[in-house]
Subunit: 338 residues, 2 copies
Amino acid sequence: MTETNVPAGAPPRIVDVAALAGVSPGTASKALNGTGQLRAETRERVRRAAEQLGFTPDSLGRGLSSGRSYTVGLITTDSFGRFSIPVMLGAENTLGAGEMVVLLCDSRDDPLREQHHLRTLLARRVDGIIVTGRRTEPRPPIAAPGHVPVVYAFTPSQDPADASLVVDQAGGASAAVRHVLDLGRRRVAHVTGPSDHHAAVVRREAAAAEAAGHLVCDPLHGDWSERWGRLAADLLLRRHPDVDAITCGSDQIARGVCDGLRDAGRRVPDDVAVVGFDDWDVIALASRPPLTTVALGLEAMGRRAGELLLDAVAGRPASPGTTTMPTRLVVRESTVGV
Amino acid sequence: MTETNVPAGAPPRIVDVAALAGVSPGTASKALNGTGQLRAETRERVRRAAEQLGFTPDSLGRGLSSGRSYTVGLITTDSFGRFSIPVMLGAENTLGAGEMVVLLCDSRDDPLREQHHLRTLLARRVDGIIVTGRRTEPRPPIAAPGHVPVVYAFTPSQDPADASLVVDQAGGASAAVRHVLDLGRRRVAHVTGPSDHHAAVVRREAAAAEAAGHLVCDPLHGDWSERWGRLAADLLLRRHPDVDAITCGSDQIARGVCDGLRDAGRRVPDDVAVVGFDDWDVIALASRPPLTTVALGLEAMGRRAGELLLDAVAGRPASPGTTTMPTRLVVRESTVGV
DNA sequence: TGCGGCGCAGAAAACGTGTTCCGTCTTTTC
DNA sequence: GAAAAGACGGAACACGTTTTCTGCGCCGCA
């Protein structure tokens, strides 16, 4: 009989390991954490005992003594959607490698819920917080105490001193226009989402600036739907039948535009080149033809957010201020024939 | 000058509250938790002190003594995708109301990663675990010790004694076929995903059984894409030009079928009725026409999973075995003209 | 008046780990 | 051969809360 005085279900504690190895709990702790002055033989003996018992240190106890919880909170303002999910995955990926775990909070655009979640996270002594959302408008900063690092991803903080990661919307829109200009198109249009959406406005401004004198008309605002894309294509063809390139504010709009053009007998990309935005595979790849589009690199952003938080926790304070993450133009058949 | 002997940043502890109220920490705990024998006046005094200091109990300390962590782990086999996200949201919603928090783990179909995540979760003394995924095939159960309740959602466990929640795939497929039969259609086809996918097979069998003698041909297997839907529509029209209803294994396939039919000059639903599966709004609503489809009720499933776990934690052991959750037929213009 | 019971609150132990301090034993050096 | 230095490991405490045990004072009853 060895040390089975614990109920079979309960996980072994460090005292069990220490007993099996014939040392004190303190010594066992030092052996397992590589701290203190111990003979190599002792260290190994404890290590084997731990392995034999399948010992895993209880992170509650560990957290209590270390003051850390090896946990970060992830607050999203919308329910996890198209934009926050990849960010979340990227963060989970990075943090998981750092032995951290992500606590999920969905505040559903409700400041009260957000406040509640924040209190919950702080009560759990999270080592850091990532805030994300669906919109690109800067949002009011969360009221976290100074010693808890916070990183805003996708949705930046209104306070320029906070660490925020944002997508280079303008750069993406410019690249899209430049791409069609490079292809020789000279009669360009831009179709995008609601004029009160920050993302739509920023993309519009950049696209218009890049297209310079080659715009056939003012950018068209609508909603983010395929339906609006079809409508806009119809409208454009009627007013400007000679349009030869359309850059769009989203993949959904771009797909609608493609369908609208095809319905009207125009060929994509031969007659008109179409560029989307977001690189949402479900839309971009299913489109006819598949969309050239601007990839946001959200997962990379999530990873970066995780890294910033890990750095901050490790004592290297996160570089404050807004960091702009690059986009990438993905070229498919909607601009370049096969 | 009150009790500000703590660094301003650090959150107040219960000893601070106790000191301010002029009682011992133990008494303060009883007052705040409503336990023990205390004068109402004392209770109130402590409560006010806690409020004044903005005290929130540290859940690490609480967890250490109570043996609970007020935390559940959520393991998904795929990266969080179309099916696991709604489940996750439903669970987060229910559990959040119960003062619990969700720990996120993404095992990416890798058993080794899953094993690692499981150990991490157990080390954190989670009160329960939810396992989910993308496929509907029963999966090997996770090796959790007996005292940790586990609920499988969407992806059931191979062990029939485990608590699993599954979608009523067969019921949904039957309802879809019954719907088109009720509309008077008598020349039915079924187009679905790969023949080695459990979901495709189950839906196929149920659809075929319900359609009885009204099938124009054997169900067609392909992949889950819109492309395959378009291809299948073309194929069907060539071999069975008189087909008047097509039920599909997914919304993506159904949308492809609609496009294929329209390309061939058939009207939906006048000539051919089309039914999808999943009720994935991005696809179903953007389709021309919008799809009649089978809603899976995944968020309800997530909520149910959360409830089962809360029950199990509270001592009411989760009813073991597989529970089938109902689907709901959502009727739109792809079967019933406006 | 003495004793038991009850209402109340404090002291102490428990949860599991990490860390600091200190004592002991070995080794080295003069 | 003795003293100092260094290697090693044990005991105690810290973390923050809950819970059990204990003690005190007051009241009522005999």
